[in-house]
Symmetry: D2
Subunit: 473 residues, 4 copies
């Protein structure tokens, strides 16, 4: 079951604006700052002037909009999307926003997250005669809205949202309105801001900094925000519940300059490093982090231990879509891909290598070997998250349980497998403390499912027969 | 005069290999690791099997070789080049290596550096009937070799090299041999290595790490290395002189994982930061560096002062050629381009902002303002180089004297102009000490012309009437 | 009403093959020979091996499949489509074949023709909750199939086809079968052939010649052909009726080397010319045809009159999508676009200019003027079709009634408007005789609606209130 | 020797204009009409306003100038070039016009023809120190001009032209002047015209028709025309000699609507057909021509014999650069490439197949077979030129003597080899008569070298040791 659901997993970034003369351009810069959340495709739908026009394509934001397409996107409202590169992920048709036109009007959808009951809903809708154009679970919402018997669009949307289970942050744009919705558990981040008289919404606050907008507040779990000419209005499609924001956003996904649910990522990562230093100190000559996500952690670890932080690993910045991967024979001769050890820094040194997580263990093993080949005398691995023992169903592509090394091996076994001199993971308590969620009884605010197997929602549903134990301790 | 010479300035990266079955592919990865030295164009000429074939183009290495061109480049020897984006720089024709075919055989040339007497030599050669195809000064060498009356190619090359003044690292490939030459002052870095049985040469050692090669030694100033089926041989085309390697390679140009003239760049930059902390301490809450070159410096400064290093500025990684710059009106509304302040980090803080240099001062001013708008209460600017008061004629594009803010203003005036609360530059002595050149009486080993105006070579020559004072104190 | 329907009009070409190891490649060559039927876009869906894969794009067949896409299209069955360039016609999404995936299986559709009740059907389907992805009327069939309550796909298709009114030739490919359907009036041509053991189907027989296939027979009006592993089977979804094949296929649309409904096009066009010579002879020095469609006609006219055929007008072969149209000012200075007069041929001559039809009259006027400016002393226009007085609703883009010059003007008025010395149209009887349909009482076999206003089907339907008189006298 | 010279052969088209505000655009349309003379590359250099700017590229004119490049080419004078696709022909660097910049000024060159002493001149120039950038013989002229000791450019050009032997039509553009030169034998066509106040020059007059220019006169063999602000002036760089214009221009190369040396091509080809009918009549059912060049001939043959002209062979119009050639296995299964037989026309018929020439015989054999497979009962081949028995050194790519079937076989042998029922070539006398050159004792006006082996110039020169007998009987 896991394998088939895995294909649907996707992390993404969304951005929206209402009430700005250059809505498409602002969205371009907003999406650009969210590029780390998805590099497979990008799209913008613009409206607010009575009709919706769009452009989308495969590739980076700058590539998709490289031929003057922004000039064609006139309007005062826009929503945009950057899509994560899932293997074999449907190509152009799945790039969002999805735009649905009908004789009654048009509706554009941008989605970040993953619905756990998408297949079940799709099955029912197809039985009723619906035709799906994409393999994305996002399209389910459009069909549910279309089939709702409510007379008013807002009510149709509300009704449709109640059918969905899982993680979702939705932006919806019509000829006359914008809707913003976050799932009742608030798995994914979604922030609201202002840019002069305009409203903006984004997956991460770094998008606000880049366009000069000011942060207002988080979109709340279960909230439906409606923006139109009459202004902004907040309603609910689901009762308020405790938040279950994804831990991985803090650990490796979000950009270090973003605040997620009000908490700065770089500062949090330094805290993770400091906490890790307390939990698992080691005698060594240098600390180095695996770029990019673990640099902040490594600096925190170095500050707390007094071991100097050095640049022991470097990432090549120019690896793009067209990069030609070295053949097996060249790799065996020593040709590196994205990551290189800095021989002059690590040779003859005892190295603390800080990374954010271990999934399959193959990457960690490769880096440890790389450091040893570059002359490191010892390699001590420190991981800024607890062991990942369970798959994620809410939009982070963490593989199936079978592939998760920590699901089948003890820490000591993993240490041997990755050939490290020592290995330590951050504790769950340490994680929550470093994020600052422990002391405000905020453990409920954080999704720890991939570390604990305790999922905040039903997974799959009884039709598929896999009612995994629900969260709430 | 400066302005016209300026047009010719260019920083670049070169790579060569002799004796490897996949010479072109190795060169691809080598150039890829040198991509930071030039993003305008790239090319590879391959030989060693009796004929030279090539491919070059505008764009990044991965873009130029994205359509299977490497498959066509068969041979056991190759030279490659990445070219710096100079404004209006001639386009495709100027992309190197340049390939010259004649009925006697072919010759390919890759050049890093800048000849100060190129115009003078070109003038004479044209008077004698030569036709130039490019606006690059590199082509001069080909014509000088062609016109030499020496019977043997090696001697023709030697004679031609003696006419050149300025900075040059040359790779030359013919059907049967590879030549490597470095100017008598050794302005630009050039290192020699081994990859199994093959010889490799590169502008920076990071290229060796990425392909798994081992470092052998530096190419010496005035040395001409010849590699052919008989093996490798070192000769001289100019007497040994003291080296004048470019300071800017250490300060901002080279990649942090490279060793330049045997000295690691990241370690050097941390030293620059520590030394700067000694020379110009300040009371503050956080230290932040301008990415990418000043991160290492800021970490060093933080280590030495105990002020925590934080991520106060972030660079967007996905700004490529096709990025659409924000219009003036959007910039005024606050849309950022490549660099954003991290509001959550700097708000309410006294910030030490570390940067590598100040050229015109406009960028520094912009960053200071950006930090203040993001809430910084004080901004203290620390620069890891002495004030740049003179233009460079050896390949670093530092603008004309008129544009250099430090050529016309005192440090206090600059502080006011960039609106900083305090400003300090690293001393010349501090620079040399941090690089490790002071104690081995190595001032002679370093070119400081842009800080001192003391140029190691003649500039221009009397035909142009601007015989600026020559170096050697 | 006409204007809104006009937007949907489209002429296209379709090709299918079942049972060949290189199905995609054969389809490529087949589509290539049908390129004259549509240059906006092209696509191929391949199957027969348990799953459907596809590639489609905007542009010519050779452009769409220029990057090795054919290599990815493995399978033993395929259908393909070339799409006509309608102004503002929906772009990529509308390029066919359309592929619909569902949990029960996939279905690909290629369509040539135009449904006259598409809007009405769409309206009803949307009311029932269907979401349309394209603006093409082709998608209606997919929704009708999906919503059919019949248990077997073949029966669902049959039921769906009975809802359709208008002109349609459909190819349908599923994981296990291919379906071929032609509307009950057989407006559009569709031929069946064999290539070794494989079955092939194409809009025109020129596709058979190019791939070396042999012609078998026409697909019959109202026929549904099913091909699968058990072989080929013919059924009917509608009773046999007299055919109404489009006259314009003979007059200008089909390729001269094709046989349409068994009749060779080039031979027919020569007959049109000979018949025109009988009906409207004239004393002149040369006969010339407007390329490409009227060359054969002009040769026939020349043969019958004894006036020599000459090349008085020439078409530039290299006018493609990227051709830059001359500005108004350049046109006024005499810069020609696609068609040029041959001064050396027409100067001082009395010219018979043969063309296939007059729609708005603007092109004819332009050519007459062009010939006179090149020195023709007289220009006699001969048209190989009757006056077009009514719009077409079956897939030929002939404009609205308001724009049709012959709907509002007599032949003499048209002659004056296009500034010809004389003008004659072929008679309806002459047309049928030349095609060879008169003597076999076959006038019923030909759609003459654009000349007569007698439409073989209802147009629009009563919901839209324009029940134009139905055909059959 | 022949093989090495062959590589240099090239047919091309040139166009120039002086004194028009939209010089680049007019040149674009002019080149466009000359596209049949070369499809590998195209370029335009524009001047007249004090500096030369250019754009060139590989591909068709419409492809090379598809991204707004024309907008950048401002100036009142321009020269342009379309280049023939020679196998392995040097790519971008060889695309013309070639532009040579020096400190004294710039010079652009466009060349149609082939120099027979290019290698010899290149050898000498290289010995004197010149470096060649292209493998094109055109560059020789630039070096000769550069090295001339004459003080004035016009005199330098004249001196340089006297060194050249072979076929050349040159356009030269500098910052202030345009030069037009035709070799002393006038092998290639070159016509002069007027467009309002502007002067135009083109390889064929069809370029004048398309831009609305009027024909003035032919450029004369040995003439050098200079156009500048003072107006137009004609001088000579070589004494007047009898013309030797290429027969192949009439037979297959020029566009049917052009006049070459004042003689219309379509009319000439019809004459060739009529003459061929007189010389070699045959009893048959239909006449068909191999498109495009032999259509006019076939019509002439049909007119003269009374056998009806039919469309027995058709060429696919959409075969472009990206067309995927069928694999050997598909070809064997009957997949056609560019040319298809029209089964409905030829089946059961005795066919006269008219073609322009036989070079290797392989194409003729293929077409004969194709016609038989399509059902032709007899195939009679009629060729509108005499047998080609000798290679061309003047710019037509006719292969080496070894490859010419008529150099080694009798007509009867060729008939058997191409599997025709009968075969006839036009006689030399018939050729000259049809062109209209016999009666005005104009045989001297026509180059017949490929039929006779009598070359109007020295070939190669004694350095290469192959002084083939010179022409003039």
């Amino acid at each position: 079951m896991l394998a088939e659901i895995k294909g649907l997993n996707e992390e993404c970034g969304i951005f929206g604006i209402w009430g700005h003369d250059e809505a498409a351009k602002i969205t371009y810069y907003g999406l650009h700052s969210l590029q780390h959340r998805g590099q497979e495709g990008a799209g913008i739908v613009v409206g607010g002037n009575g009709k919706l026009t769009f452009h989308k394509g495969l590739g980076l934001v700058t590539e998709v909009f490289s031929n003057g397409e922004l000039q064609q996107l006139n309007g005062t409202a826009a929503i945009g999307h950057v899509r994560y590169a899932t293997a074999g992920g449907g190509g152009y048709a799945n790039v969002q926003p999805l735009l649905f036109r009908s004789q009654k009007g048009s509706l554009a959808l941008a989605h970040n997250g993953n619905l756990v009951n998408a297949e079940k809903l799709k099955f029912r809708l197809e039985q009723q005669g619906s035709i799906f154009q994409t393999t994305s679970d996002t399209e389910v919402l459009a069909h549910l809205i279309k089939r709702s018997s409510e007379p008013i669009l807002k009510e149709r949307i509300k009704e449709a949202l109640t059918y969905l289970e899982g993680a979702f942050a939705f932006l919806i744009l019509t000829e006359t309105e914008m809707y913003i919705a976050l799932d009742p558990h608030g798995f994914r981040p979604l922030s609201l801001g202002r840019l002069g008289g305009a409203y903006v919404v984004a997956s991460e606050t770094c998008a606000f900094d880049v366009i000069g907008a000011t942060y207002e507040r988080e979109v709340e779990p279960g909230e439906l925000i409606i923006i139109n000419k009459q202004g902004i209005r907040s309603e609910r499609f689901a009762p308020r519940s405790t938040r279950s924001i994804c831990s991985m956003e803090y650990i490796y996904f979000a950009r270090p300059d973003s605040n997620v649910d009000g908490i700065n990522i770089h500062a949090t990562r330094k805290n993770l490093g400091k906490r890790l230093a307390l939990e698992a100190p080691v005698e060594a000559d240098i600390v180095t982090g695996v770029p990019d996500s673990s640099i902040s952690v490594a600096i925190g670890y170095a500050e707390a231990t007094g071991i100097p932080y050095e640049l022991g690993l470097i990432k090549n910045r120019y690896v793009g879509r067209t990069f030609i991967q070295p053949s097996q024979s060249l790799r065996e001769q020593g040709v590196k891909m994205k990551l290189s050890p800095v021989r002059g820094v690590v040779a003859g040194k005892r190295v603390v290598m800080v990374d954010d997580s271990i999934v399959r263990g193959t990457t960690s093993k490769r880096i440890v070997r790389m450091l040893r080949e570059a002359g490191a005398t010892e390699v001590h691995v420190r991981i800024s998250s607890p062991p990942i023992t369970h798959p994620c169903f809410y939009g982070i592509d963490t593989s199936t349980k079978e592939e998760l090394i920590a699901a089948r091996h003890s820490v000591e076994e993993i240490r041997q497998l990755i050939e490290a001199d020592s290995l330590a993971f951050l504790s769950q308590k340490g994680l929550l403390e470093a994020i600052g969620r422990l002391d405000d009884s905020a453990w409920r605010g954080q999704c720890l499912a991939c570390f604990t197997g305790i999922y905040p929602t039903k997974i799959g549903g009884k039709e598929h027969g896999e009612c995994i134990q629900t969260g709430g301790r």
